[in-house]
């Protein structure tokens, strides 16, 4: 069983119908506040798009996520700020779908629809929390997770957050995998180690669980507690992504971003 399915099952209180088998939707009772809406992209060996059968975000997944998030926005429209239900994205996505049909239809637009929906929900006041339980790579993570107000990840060797999977990163940047691994020791953003990623300023918590593949009930409890804390922080925090620049880690790792922003803001008139 994929990690996305395992964690989705562990956190789900009541599974809800979804138009696409690869987009799993559930209500998740976290123990306080309104139940969170849980969303996961899961492998569907019967997906009509062959390049999206292993849990990638492709055409159906993009539109499916957009629908599911849009539904939450509709449900809570007009409610008081603290009543907007949280959205929890369980993230284990190997990438976007790499296929010709996907390109023909304009996969970028289907992914944009998911990004649009997640960002809209965040701005509307829904705490959007990403829980990275496995791979969070490339367009998959951009579509499902990276618009979150808070990002949590399992402190585990198989949790990977990167711009592209390792063989492709090596191939495209004209390096061997060994060279890439060496470079990652001095250039932190190149690392596939989630602990290295956590030093870059946009990690809101690493969760040490006993079994990342098949979470125990204690693991699920730990995750629920971390989610509750993250939701509370999100309700207090900004509704844009500027918190990714304000953490102590960001102030160290992203000095160049801060410098560029400061210069641009001073010159703007």
């Amino acid at each position: 069983m994929s990690r996305s399915q395992a964690w989705f099952d562990a956190l789900s209180t009541q599974e809800l119908p979804s138009r696409y088998r690869s987009v799993a939707i559930a209500d998740s009772d976290l123990g306080s506040g309104p139940a969170a809406r849980l969303l996961a992209v899961v492998p569907d060996p019967g997906n009509v798009y062959p390049r999206a059968r292993r849990g990638e975000v492709g055409l159906l997944e993009g539109i499916g996520l957009a629908h599911a998030v849009g539904e939450v926005i509709e449900l809570d429209r007009g409610l008081a700020d603290d009543q907007h239900r949280p959205i929890v994205a369980v993230v284990d996505v190997p990438s976007q779908a790499y296929g010709r049909l996907e390109e023909q239809f304009g996969e970028y637009l289907y992914i944009a629809a998911a990004v649009d929906a997640y960002a809209t929900a965040r701005v509307a006041g829904h705490p959007v929390i990403a829980l990275v339980v496995g791979s969070a790579i490339s367009g998959g993570f951009l579509a499902h997770g990276l618009q979150a107000s808070q990002i949590l990840a399992l402190d585990d060797d198989k949790t990977e957050i990167q711009a592209i999977h390792k063989p492709a990163a090596a191939r495209i940047t004209l390096r061997t995998i060994a060279e890439l691994d060496e470079l990652a020791k001095i250039v932190t953003p190149l690392s596939f180690d989630v602990r290295a990623w956590a030093t870059l300023g946009y990690c809101d918590g690493l969760l040490k669980v006993s079994n990342a593949d098949q979470p125990t009930s204690a693991d699920a409890d730990l995750a629920r507690e971390a989610l509750r804390d993250a939701i509370a922080r999100a309700r207090q925090g900004p509704r844009d992504l500027t918190n990714r620049l304000q953490s102590p880690q960001a102030r160290h790792a992203r000095q160049a971003s801060l410098q560029a922003r400061q210069r641009l803001t001073e010159q703007w008139h």
């Binding site: 390049r51 996907e102 390109e103 023909q104 951009l142 618009q147 711009a163 940047t173 992504l241």
Partner: protein, 313 residues
């Protein structure tokens, strides 16, 4: 159609071809300035501010003092506008920490101005392969932040994307194109998430033969994107033509629903359930066929046509 006895005067689009001023051959900075009204642009956080990517030198790569993104603010048809141009000649037009921060910050400042009652539109010149892989997760996050800032501004003012080519707009930055209020493409522009070479190496030559140029253009090319309703204007590679298309796109204002919100349209495009054999069906979607030479946007790029429409150039 190609009757040689027809004089240039009868084929104004040919006249435009002879006299055109190539947009593609300009670098990002020149493109940004020439989109805006002449003499109105000034650059923000430019190369003389010397804020470079800190991540390239340790990898033996040469950084650039503007990190490959130029931010130029000025007037477009007399109204405030910020142009964010990606330089395709630096690291494949990829977005890294600094270039991403510049784009995000410019969009956020524009949104701040718009909220304060000083409306300003944005134009994104996309010449980009997407996330800069040499900056890994910080590049990926930089693109996520651009997307968020773009949406912030888009609800108040038009954000227009231009994919002129020759690189096109790919990878994470193609999502930017998907979120733009309107997209302007040239015949040389391409738009897609995964390039042909990447798909070929991921899924084999049968899935996408990257040596088949005709196939690439039939999937990702500007004419195809325009014909299938994924772009709003298809223009000649000509500075006045691109500028006019951008002015028209801004003037059309903020629509009630953006392309990335039209889930019904997106669903209708897919004929899922046919075992992955889905193909475009133009008939039934109400999408016009690609314009032939001498029709539509190409003819539109003739200066006379613009004057008739009352657009400035």
């Amino acid at each position: 159609m190609s009757d040689p006895s027809v004089s240039a005067a009868e084929r104004p689009e040919l006249e435009a071809l002879w006299h055109r001023h190539s947009f593609l051959e300009l670098d990002a900075r020149a493109r940004a300035f020439c989109v805006l009204d002449e003499g109105t642009g000034s650059e923000y956080c430019g190369p003389f501010d010397r804020i470079e990517s800190p991540w390239l030198e340790p990898q033996g790569l040469v950084p650039q003092a503007d990190d490959g993104v130029v931010v130029v603010k000025g007037l477009l048809a007399g109204e405030p506008c910020v142009v964010i141009g990606v330089e395709g000649a630096f690291q494949g037009g990829s977005i890294g920490e600094v270039s991403g921060a510049k784009a995000t910050c410019a969009l956020q400042l524009a949104a701040r101005d718009a909220r304060a009652g000083r409306p300003i539109s944005a134009v994104l010149l996309l010449e980009t392969g997407g996330v800069r892989l040499q900056e890994g997760t910080l590049g990926l996050n930089a693109v996520a932040e651009i997307l968020s800032a773009l949406l912030e501004l888009r609800s108040m003012r038009p954000v227009i994307g231009v994919a002129a080519g020759p690189l096109g707009s790919y990878g994470g930055m193609s999502i930017v194109a998907g979120l733009c209020t309107r997209m302007v493409l040239t015949h040389e522009g391409r738009l897609g998430f995964n390039g042909a070479q990447v798909i070929e190496s991921e899924a084999g030559v049968a899935e996408f033969d990257s040596s088949d140029r005709a196939l690439i253009w039939s999937v990702n090319g500007g004419a195809q994107r325009y014909a299938t309703g994924l772009a709003d204007a298809l223009v000649l590679d000509d500075v006045p033509a691109v500028r006019r298309a951008v002015i028209t796109a801004v003037a059309a204002g903020v629509p009630e629903h953006h392309r990335s919100e039209e889930l019904g349209v997106l669903a209708a495009r897919l004929s899922a359930g046919d075992g992955g054999q889905a193909r475009f069906s133009l008939t039934g979607l109400g999408i016009p066929p690609a314009p032939g030479p001498g029709q539509g946007p190409l003819a539109d790029s003739h200066p006379g046509a613009a004057q008739q429409r009352g657009a400035q150039s």
